[in-house]
Each structure stands twice: as structure tokens, then as C-alpha cells.
């Protein structure tokens, strides 16, 4: 099971900026290990961010997103104390959901 995501959300002048740091290997499927065997691809495919059950961002990742992916985006609305819920799914079917409050 993957480690928790770090989520920061801050509201300024009616715009909420969300920053997410995810803990994930993001293997491309092109790297070889010490024995020369190809390390199988293992990466996040879908990531969704919600604010009060409303989707504010849905993204699709390929293997060329870096290890421990970082993402930042902004949306209008949101108030201090509102919940931001971020969830991702990877190509092995693993998934994780974390939440944070806007401050």
C-alpha cells in the first residue's frame, strides 16, 4: 500500500490553489534491473481531485510523469475549511484517496 499523499490547498482572493505530492514509483516499463530484466511498467493512470463532491480536476498520466508525481492547479471558489479529496488509480489496479482542508 502506498504512502499518503501530501495535499496543500490555500484560498486567496476567491481562487484556491491545490498542490499535491504523491508517493509512487512511476516505473516506465523501459528500465532494466541489475540482472538485465525489464522492470514492468507501474504508474498512475488516473487522478481526480474533488472539492465538496464536485470534480475540479481529472487527469490522466502516462509513464513519463516523474517519480513521486507533483501537481498543482487552481480553481475558482472554495472556502477555508472546505474539503479537498484527491484520489488516484494505477495500472496495477491499486488506488488511494486522501483529503485535506483548505486553509
Amino acid at each position: 500500500m502506498a504512502n499518503p499523499m501530501k495535499i496543500r490547498a490555500a484560498n486567496k482572493d476567491g481562487v484556491t490553489e491545490v498542490k499535491v505530492l504523491i508517493s509512487h514509483e512511476m516505473e516506465t516499463g523501459q528500465r532494466k534491473d541489475a540482472a538485465g530484466a525489464i522492470v514492468p511498467a507501474w504508474f498512475i493512470t488516473e487522478l481526480t481531485a474533488k472539492h465538496n463532491d464536485k470534480v475540479v480536476l481529472s487527469s490522466e498520466f502516462g509513464p513519463s510523469v516523474s517519480k513521486n508525481p507533483y501537481m498543482a492547479f487552481k480553481f475558482k471558489g472554495g472556502a477555508k475549511g472546505d474539503k479537498i479529496v484527491v484520489s488516484w488509480k494505477d495500472n496495477k489496479g491499486d488506488s488511494r484517496t486522501d483529503e485535506a482542508a483548505i486553509n
Binding site: 516506465t28 528500465r31 487527469s59 490522466e60 516523474s66 508525481p69 501537481m71 475558482k76
Partner: protein, 155 residues
């Protein structure tokens, strides 16, 4: 969740099947996006990727900005950002021309979300990166070259 469909996708024929279905108009590109857009992420060249995204030949636009370093010492972690002042932006994608698969990430922006996203990508070698933006149903693009000192795609 539709298990059978998952299995079809896993069986590897997914990409081909999806593109055939899309071409036949049985499923629209919008529906294909409901699941991970395998065709777009599997596409090797820029042209194929743009086709899989339904973008055709996007116009260059000054209203799309790509941010990133001029020189990335470590290709494994290259910070890249896309911003646009175009109205009604519904989709933003980051493409890296010389990576094995050009498409790095795509973001669907619902109403209220600003066309301003940042992420970090891997780059195998020095390459142009493209920011693709869908505004009012039309596609626009901007380019920036990032030089890579140390490749980030392993091998």
C-alpha cells in the same frame, strides 16, 4: 465497474479495439476518455498522439504558455507548467516530442478550474515539449525546448 471491459483492455488488444471503435463512431472520443485513453498514451509520434486526442493539427498560439527550465540537469524530474489565457479551456495536455511515448499527461478542466497546471515529467533526452490546450472546442499549442544533461528514462 464493468469487469469484462477491464479484461478486454488488459488483454492488450485494448488500444486497437478502442481506436477501431472510435473510428467507427461507435464510441465518441469523449466516451473513450471516461477510461484511460490508452490509444493516446501508447502513440509513439506526435502526429499519432494528436490524432488519438482528436486534436488534428493544432494552431500555434501566443495565448498558451509553457514553463520549464531551459536546461534540465536531471531528466528524471523536469518541472513543467502550462498556462493559458484562452477562454473556456476544457483540456490541457503535455507532450514530449522525443520521449518513447509523446503524451506525458492530460488534464480535463471542468468549469471554474483555471488553465494553469504544473507537474513534473521525465525526459529521455533534449526535446521540444508541447503544451496542447483545448479552448472552445479548438486546439492550440505552444512549444519550448528543454535541454537535458542526464536522461531520465532509465536504460
Amino acid at each position: 465497474m464493468n469487469k469484462q471491459r477491464r479484461n478486454v483492455l488488459k488483454a492488450g488488444s485494448g488500444a486497437a479495439l478502442m481506436s477501431i471503435l472510435a473510428a467507427a463512431g461507435i464510441i465518441t472520443p469523449g466516451m473513450a476518455l471516461a477510461d484511460w485513453n490508452k490509444a493516446a498514451f501508447d502513440a509513439k509520434s506526435m502526429a499519432d498522439t494528436l490524432k488519438a486526442l482528436g486534436a488534428g493539427a493544432p494552431a500555434d498560439s501566443k495565448d498558451v504558455q509553457v514553463t520549464g527550465p531551459d536546461i534540465a540537469e536531471n531528466g528524471a524530474v523536469v518541472p513543467v507548467g502550462v498556462a493559458s489565457t484562452l477562454p473556456n479551456v476544457t483540456m490541457v495536455a503535455i507532450l514530449i516530442e522525443k520521449n518513447p511515448n509523446a503524451l506525458a499527461a492530460s488534464f480535463n478542466l471542468p468549469e471554474g478550474t483555471e488553465a494553469n497546471v504544473q507537474t513534473r515529467v521525465k525526459m529521455g533526452q533534449t526535446s521540444n515539449i508541447y503544451a496542447l490546450v483545448k479552448s472552445d472546442g479548438k486546439f492550440f499549442m505552444a512549444t519550448k525546448e528543454i535541454k537535458v544533461t542526464l536522461g531520465g528514462c532509465g536504460g
